[in-house]
Structure formats: C-alpha cells, structure tokens
C-alpha cells in the first residue's frame, strides 16, 4: 500500500467509483488542448518576484495528534497509553508572537519550532470535510478535486482544484507544477496542461552516453526539422507539443545549471523535491503553485516509542516528522537566502488524520479530522480553528470543524491574489470559516 503513496501513482478501486468517473473525459492534467504555443510560460532568469504556494502532502493519513500534540488534554494520554508523546517531550509553542501552551510540537520538529517562534508558522486543527471517508483513495480524491459531493457536482467540476485555478489564474504550463510525485488528480482536467515532474534532472532529452556530440547534433536536426512544420491540423498540434517539449527542457535544465545555494539539504525524497522547487523559484519560473509530498504515513503499527536507552522518541512516525522538519527547514533557509521567503506559503496536508486511540500494534487506524501546518514568511503565525477539547478526543475520531477548502481559498485569494474563487471551489460547504492565515 505504501508504494502507491510513495510514488504518487493514483490507481485502484476507488478509481472505479462514480465521482471519479465523471472527471476522466477531460482527465490527464498533462493533456494539451488546442495550440500550446504562447501558453508555455517563461522563466525570467532572476528569482521569482511572485508569491508562491507550496503544498506538501503526507500520503497515507498523518497522525495529527502526534504532530501537534494537545499536551494539556488528559484523554490524549489515557487513550494512547504507549504511543502518546510523553509529557514534557513535546516542543513548546509558547514562544513567538502567537504563543500557546495548549499544544506542543512533535519533538522531531525543532526547525518548525524556530519558524513558529519567528511568527512564520501556523497550525490549523480539526481540518477535514463533511461525511468523512476512511478510504485513502476516496479521501485523497476529495482533497484533489476540492469537492465532497462527487456524483452531483463533479459534472461541472470534472477536474482537480489546481487545474481549475490554473485555467483561470495561471494559464501556462508553468503556472502550477507537481514536483517529485508525478501525476496527481489535483491537476487533471482543465486546459492548461501543467508540468508534472519527477526529478528536475530527469526532465531532459536523455543523451546517448557514448555519443555526446551526436546527441546534440541530432537534437539540433530535430529542432530544425520542427521549425518548418505546418502548424495546422492534428500534426500541427503534435508539432506544438514537440516545440513545447524542447522549450521546457531548456528552461528546466537552465534552472539546474544556474542554481546556486550554500544550504545543504538532507538526502530524503521530500528534501530533494523541495530543493528542486528552490531551483525553479531562483530561476524565476512563473509558477504560483508547487505540489509535492512524501509517503509512509499509514502508521498502523509501531509509530512511536521512547527508546529506553537514549530517552529519545523513535518509530516510523517520528522519522517522518524529522524528514519533514529537515526538508522544510532547509527550504526556509534557502528561500531566506534568495529573498523569496516573505513571498512563500507552505501548507502541509494529509488525506485524513487517525483515530484518537491507539490500536493493539502501537499504531493508529484511519481517522477523520487532523491538523494542517503552514509555514512561510507570508504566514500569520499562530494557532487557528476551534480549540481541541477532551470531549472531542473521547469520540473515536476528531470531527472536522474547519473545511480544508477554506485554507486553500484564503491562500489563493489573500496570498496569490486570485479573484473570484467560485469556479475553483464551486461546492457549497457545511462549515465556512474565515481564518486570516496569511
């Protein structure tokens, strides 16, 4: 199961469900509709002056209660007798301009704590959507489409929310981009044809190892041949796609070549993706939304334990928190160095949270609401959403008291400067909250 999340592929039984089906006629965010020429987008070569929104998806359902710890709630400890973060081990959020003693951070997140202290991090608790679904696939689709009531409203949506945003507010191939995780349903539909990349370094015309000169020679011949092709008809559309391919490869490879930074990124997949995003920002890509993520959050077993010898937190979830913290910390340093941090908002999301009580395997099963983390110079640091209570924890699942689309909506409007979002999030919501996140 983990592999599905780790490599970002989206197949499976959920894909047969009704609400997904409707989207597929226009699906494939990598699709080109109409001429591509002129809709490519161009990197400026200087650090992007635009505001950016980066989404980090923790695939598999993150345990929010181990991420942002409700340290003062007795039920947290009684329901999780072996996996709760022990009292005093959590990192304090009392510092900074919006300090709180109600919550603490996972002990593996010191860099996030530093951002909090600087007023550059926020937590939103109890985030979700109505009528929660415990299937990874269904729940991820709901987040990707930005729609809860599939079969009714998807007829008009028929696309991911990023595709709808890009069509209206960033209509070039570079306007919104997936990095390090390949194709995602957030990008499907629409007509903008966003670039969905694995590693930047792999987005090129692979050379023939032994014949470097000949490889350049044949590429030149291909470009010359393309330059004289007709632009009409179906083969004209093929030419446009081929032209775009050459232009985009050039831009991405130029971004890699020109990147300069003194920041040392850790060697995990999220960190590599974050550094790729830094390369694109530094090269002036006109990208407004970056989407990346990493997997392993389906922590049904052995997620947390305190090492008897070292007294340190260990376990699968703890390792993931450290990777997240290291990657975001490095990106923050890089963005500050290049002067883009104040134009940055990062949202750390997951398809759902986990049960309030631990299971018999030192883990937690699928749950409902969970926290979303925000980082960036443009974030209004602090804690958002209704306070968590003991009574809430006594239920099996945390309910959702903040709709995830309100977070997206505020960031798109107040940070990216989007106008009307009624076509991006067309569905009526049960709960609507003004948060003031950015």
């Amino acid at each position: 199961m983990c592999n599905d999340y780790c490599n970002g592929r989206r197949f499976g039984k959920s894909a047969t469900r009704r609400d997904v089906l409707k989207t597929t006629l226009a699906a494939a965010g990598f699709a080109a509709l109409g001429p591509l020429t002129g809709r490519l987008g161009t990197a400026s070569g200087a650090v992007s002056a635009q505001t950016t929104f980066t989404i980090i998806n923790m695939f598999g359902g993150n345990d929010g209660l181990s991420t942002v710890v409700p340290r003062g709630l007795a039920s947290y400890h009684s329901l999780r007798p072996t996996i709760a973060i022990p009292p005093g081990m959590e990192l304090s959020l009392a510092g900074g301009p919006a300090g709180t003693t109600a919550y603490g951070l996972n002990p593996k997140m010191p860099k996030t704590q530093a951002l909090w202290d600087a007023g550059d991090a926020a937590i939103v608790n109890l985030v979700g959507y109505p009528d929660p679904n415990l299937s990874h696939f269904e729940s991820e689709d709901i987040w990707s489409f930005g729609m809860r009531n599939g079969s009714g409203s998807l007829t008009t949506a028929a696309s991911g929310w990023i595709a709808r945003y890009a069509d209206r507010y960033a209509p070039t191939s570079l306007g919104a981009m997936s990095v390090g995780i390949g194709r995602r349903r957030d990008f499907v539909g629409g007509s903008t044809n966003p670039l969905l990349l694995g590693r930047l370094s792999e987005f090129q015309f692979q050379r023939d190892g032994q014949f470097a000169n000949n490889h350049l020679h044949r590429l030149e011949a291909a470009r010359q041949m393309l330059s004289t092709q007709p632009t009409t008809g179906l083969s004209g559309e093929a030419r446009a796609a081929l032209d775009s391919a050459h232009q985009l490869v050039d831009q991405v490879q130029a971004a890699i070549a020109s990147y300069s930074s003194t920041v040392v990124y850790p060697s995990n997949s999220l960190a590599r993706s974050m550094q790729d995003i830094a390369r694109l920002v530094q090269a002036g890509f006109p990208t407004r939304i970056f989407y990346t993520g990493f997997g392993g959050f389906d922590t049904h077993s052995e997620q947390n334990a305190v090492d008897g010898t070292t007294g340190l937190l260990t376990g699968g979830h703890a390792d993931l928190m450290q990777r997240l913290d290291d990657a975001v910390g490095a990106y923050a340093d890089d963005a500050k160095a290049m002067g883009s941090w104040d134009r940055t908002v990062i949202a750390v999301i997951s398809e759902f949270g986990r049960r309030n009580f631990e299971n018999g395997s030192l883990g937690t099963d699928h749950g409902h609401g969970a926290c979303v983390l925000l980082m960036g110079g443009a974030v209004n640091g602090g804690s958002y959403g209704p306070p968590m209570t003991d009574a809430m924890l006594q239920e099996d699942q945390l309910e959702h008291l903040v709709d995830f689309r309100d977070i997206y909506r505020e960031i798109l409007a107040d940070h990216l400067g989007a106008g009307s979002l009624s076509a991006v999030f067309p569905e009526a919501q049960q709960i609507s909250t003004t948060l003031g996140l950015v």
């Binding site: 197949f11 499976g12 039984k13 894909a15 047969t16 469900r17 009704r18 997904v20 089906l21 597929t24 006629l25 226009a26 699906a27 494939a28 990598f30 699709a31 080109a32 509709l33 591509l36 490519l40 191939s173 044809n193 670039l195 969905l196 090129q204 015309f205 692979q206 050379r207 023939d208 190892g209 014949f211 000169n213 000949n214 490889h215 350049l216 020679h217 044949r218 030149e220 011949a221 291909a222 010359q224 041949m225 393309l226 004289t228 092709q229 007709p230 008809g233 179906l234 083969s235 004209g236 559309e237 093929a238 030419r239 796609a241 081929l242 775009s244 391919a245 232009q247 985009l248 490869v249």
Partner: protein
C-alpha cells in the same frame, strides 16, 4: 426470461446487401447522406475494390501498431480483403502465448504486477498477428479494469481476464458481455463480490450501461440501476486455505431472488444456483431493449476510422451487428474494407497513444527491446497496459499530446536505440534497414527510414535529414562536412540511429 427478438426480426427482414449499398456505396451518395462531411466515400461502408500503397500503409497503421516490412509482403501476397479476414481470426492458447507466459511469469499462481505487464507487452511486440493485441487493447480500454485491484493471491485472475479480451475480441459481443459480467477481475473491480441481496452494489450495474453498452444516461434511469443491481448479486470471494489462493463463486444465499422491473420489463427472480443466470438475463435484456449495437458500432468505427461518425454509418453497422446475432468479426471486417476507412477523413489522422507509438517503433524497425524499456516507457507516458487510471479507460486522442509526453516518447526511442537487442542478443544491425546495405547513400537512408516509419517528409525535411547524415558536430559546437558512409560502423551506430531518433520527433509520426 424471454428475450425479445424484435431487433433481429427487423434486420432479418431487410436485405443485408441493400443495407450496405444504400449507404452511399458505388460512388453515388444516397439520399440523406450528403451532409456527412468528408465526401461520400467518408460515409460509405461499401467495400473498396482497389488499394494503393498508401491505403495498405494506412490499414497497417491502424491495425497492427504500424507497418512492419513483413506485413507489406503478406498484404501483397494475399490481397487486402483476405489479409483482413485472416487477421480477424484470433488464435487462443498458441505455443507462443504459452512460451511468453513461461518466459515472463516466474510463478503462474502468483504472478507479479510487472510480470503481467511484460507478458502482454511481449505479445504486443512479438505476436505474428499484432491485430490481436491492438484489438485487445481497444477492449481493455473499453471494459477498463486494473490489475492494481488484485492482491497477491488474486493476481492470477488477470490472465483469464485479459485472455478473454485477447481471444474473444472478434467473437460474439453477447458472449463477451456475459463472460465479463461474471469475470472474477470485473467482479472484484466493480464491487460485484460485495453485492448481496441485503445490500446490492450499484457500481457494476451503472457502468455496465454507462460505459460498456449504452453510454451515459442513454435509455436507463436511476430506478433501473437500482433494480439491475439486484440481478447482479450473489458472487463472493473465498480464500482457499489449501491452495493459498482466492477464488470467486456464486453463493445463492446472497442473491436477490425477487422479481425485478428493469427497462420496462420484468425479470423473474431465479432461485438457488440458477440465480447466477440473472447475469445473463441482464445482458440479453439490455441487448434486446436498447441500442447497444449502435453504441458499439460507433465505438469501433471511431477507433478505426474517425470520431463522431454520422448516424447513417453507425445505424448500418448496428444493423449488421444485430443481423449477425452480435458477431463482431463481420462488423470489423466491413469497417476495415470500407470506402470510409480509406477516405481522406479517416486518413486525416488519429493521435497515436503511447503504446501505439512505442510498439509501432519497435515493430517497424524489427527491434526486440528490453521489456524494462517498454514497461517504463509506457508507464512514464501514462499508459501502462493492465493499469488504466479508472473504469473509463485512458483519456485519449489529442489528450496524449503534451510537452511532457513528447519528452518521454523521445527518451523511449533513445532507450530502444541505445539498448537495442535482437532475438539472438547480438544487437539489431541498423545497416540491414538500409536499401543498399553498406553502399546506401544518405538520401537513400533518409527515404528508406522515413518510409519504414511512414513519416511524410517535405523537401525541406529531406534536405535537413540528408544534411544531418552528411555532417558531424564537433566538441566545440561547430558542424563540419563529413559525407555519410554506410560501410563505416560508427556512421551506422551514431548517424543512422540518430536519424531514427529525429524521425520519431516528426509530427506526422505522432499521428496514425
């Protein structure tokens, strides 16, 4: 349940020959056919009588992942009509099929995900009748299921599922629908194994009509779906402790035995093991009561010829399908032999899918690629066979054309050329593709390889490519004259390989 023979009766009353000639054949468009677009031949289902070399190339492009040199010889020997009739015969359980399975699947009881992909890719690459795989890919896209749904002890179900499509592709539509309704992979994929009398699952009932037989909202209601779902109840999975494998079986206790009212008809409830017969009843009822033939005729014509065919065409093909009691071969043969198939409207092109692009390249050049290259190439390009994105299959057509996919296609060709192997693992000698071998000129090389790939070159293109062969790029970036010498192994390895690489980026090579 009694099945109405209404449609068959109508068709039987009509003379089949008149039906087809009435469709604008014989050069004169019949009344009401003039508005079809693309001229009378574009809508005529009358059999074409003479075939140009371009016609033959077009036929091969659409029916076997593109022309291979041996195919041209076969057409010349047999003539087009016989060649078509021959390829419509789809053999089952051939020695080759068995050998490929043995080669690619280590444990047939527990096949791995990639092994199932590669098993089929090998067949696509090596089946002497590639039409069997082209058509199976069409059906796989139409009745889209993904092996992703099958866990380790169920993976082997996929072999039977795919073979149902591979062996039955030109068989009987009624048979195929009936088999698919109780196919284990399909039952798992669309929740049939969880559909019980207490809680009938509507997933299969809905897709059966919406995607497989009628089209969305075409003659059924939500109330029909609810009732039809009651027919589709009773199958369940069982894990066999002895074999360690899961299987699917009909459990009469889970079947809804009540009468159902569907599409204005009553389906009498069946009891006991006979309950499974309601799956067949549903297929028969749908074929009898609704325009399944029109829907399927439109899909087949669109796949082979061009999208949005006029109603005259689909109506005539649908009548033929009913007249033959849903035998598919006569309909497919009629399409492939028709004036419409060879019309300029049809030849205006369809976008190649990644599989058509990749398989076309290896078949035309005679390469035997590593399955790694083929598998990863198609995965990167978004069309990994056996794993469509959802029940609606792959979004196709112009949606396949994107900058990203063009990079992936070029890299696939690069991998083929760099890793090329032959059946004897000695490497494909690209010189054998040249008309005069070691004495071929640059112009002969360009013309031969463009012809091989069926790329249309302008005079300017030809000059560009001949110049490419007759020059050399130096490390400092300057390009100097260096006449092509087909006897020079380095020229073959670098330049002829490079020529194929460039030709594969010609826009016309992305259109079939």
């Amino acid at each position: 349940m009694q099945v109405s023979r209404r449609w068959d009766a109508v068709v039987a009353a009509a003379s089949f020959a008149i039906l087809l000639t009435g469709c604008g054949g014989g050069g004169g468009a019949g009344p009401g056919l003039g508005g079809g677009g693309g001229g009378p031949e574009a809508v005529s289902l009358a059999a074409k009588t003479t075939f140009t070399a371009d016609d033959v190339g077009h036929l091969l492009n659409r029916t076997r992942f593109g022309p291979a040199p041996a195919d041209l010889t076969a057409v010349q020997q047999q003539g087009v009509p016989l060649f078509i009739d021959t390829m419509l015969v789809l053999p089952a359980n051939t020695p080759q099929e068995a050998q490929v399975a043995t080669d690619e699947i280590e444990d047939p009881l527990f096949p791995q995900e990639h092994e199932l992909v590669r098993w089929w890719l090998r067949l696509m690459q090596e089946n002497p009748n590639p039409f069997q795989e082209v058509l199976a890919l069409f059906w796989h896209d139409h009745f889209a299921t993904s092996q992703e749904i099958l866990g380790g002890d169920k993976k082997q179900w996929w072999l039977a599922h795919l073979n149902l499509l591979r062996h039955g592709g030109t068989g009987n539509l009624r048979t195929m629908l009936t088999q698919l309704a109780t196919d284990w992979t399909m039952l798992e994929w669309l929740d049939g194994v969880d559909s019980t009398d207490d809680a009938p699952n509507e997933n299969f009932a809905r897709e059966f009509w919406e995607l497989f037989t009628l089209g969305v909202d075409n003659g059924y209601t939500q109330a029909d779906i609810v009732q039809a779902a009651r027919c589709f109840t009773g199958y369940r999975t069982r894990f066999d402790d002895v074999t360690g494998l899961s299987r699917v079986e009909f459990d009469a206790n889970r079947h809804d035995t009540g009468d159902k009212s569907i599409l204005g008809q009553t389906v009498l409830g069946r009891r006991g093991v006979d309950g499974a017969g309601e799956y067949t009843d549903m297929v028969n009822l749908t074929l009898a009561q609704r325009p399944v033939a029109e829907y399927m005729a439109g899909k087949l014509f669109t796949f082979f010829c061009y999208p949005n065919p006029p109603a005259e065409v689909t109506d005539a093909l649908a009548a033929l399908l009913r007249a033959s009691n849903y035998e598919l071969a006569p309909v497919i043969a009629t399409i492939l032999k028709s004036e419409a198939f060879y019309s300029s409207t049809s030849k205006a092109g369809l976008v190649k899918s990644p599989a058509e692009f990749a398989l076309g390249f290896v078949r035309a050049t005679g390469m035997r690629t590593h399955m790694d290259d083929l598998d990863s190439g198609l995965s990167d390009a978004g069309q990994r066979p056996t794993m469509p994105p959802n029940v609606n299959g792959w979004p196709g057509g112009a949606l396949w054309l994107s900058a990203q996919s063009m990079v992936e296609r070029a890299n696939y060709v690069r991998d083929c050329l760099t890793h090329r192997t032959s059946e004897t693992q000695t490497g494909l000698d690209l010189r054998t593709l040249l008309p005069e071998g070691a004495t071929s000129t640059s112009a002969q090389a360009v013309d031969a390889l463009a012809g091989l790939l069926r790329v249309s070159l302008s005079a300017t293109d030809r000059t560009t490519l001949v110049t490419y062969l007759d020059t050399q790029r130096q490390s400092n970036g300057t390009v100097v004259a260096s006449p092509f010498d087909a006897a020079n192994n380095a020229h073959i390895t670098e330049r002829v390989s490079g020529l194929l690489y460039v030709l594969a980026q010609h826009p016309t090579y992305h259109v079939r």
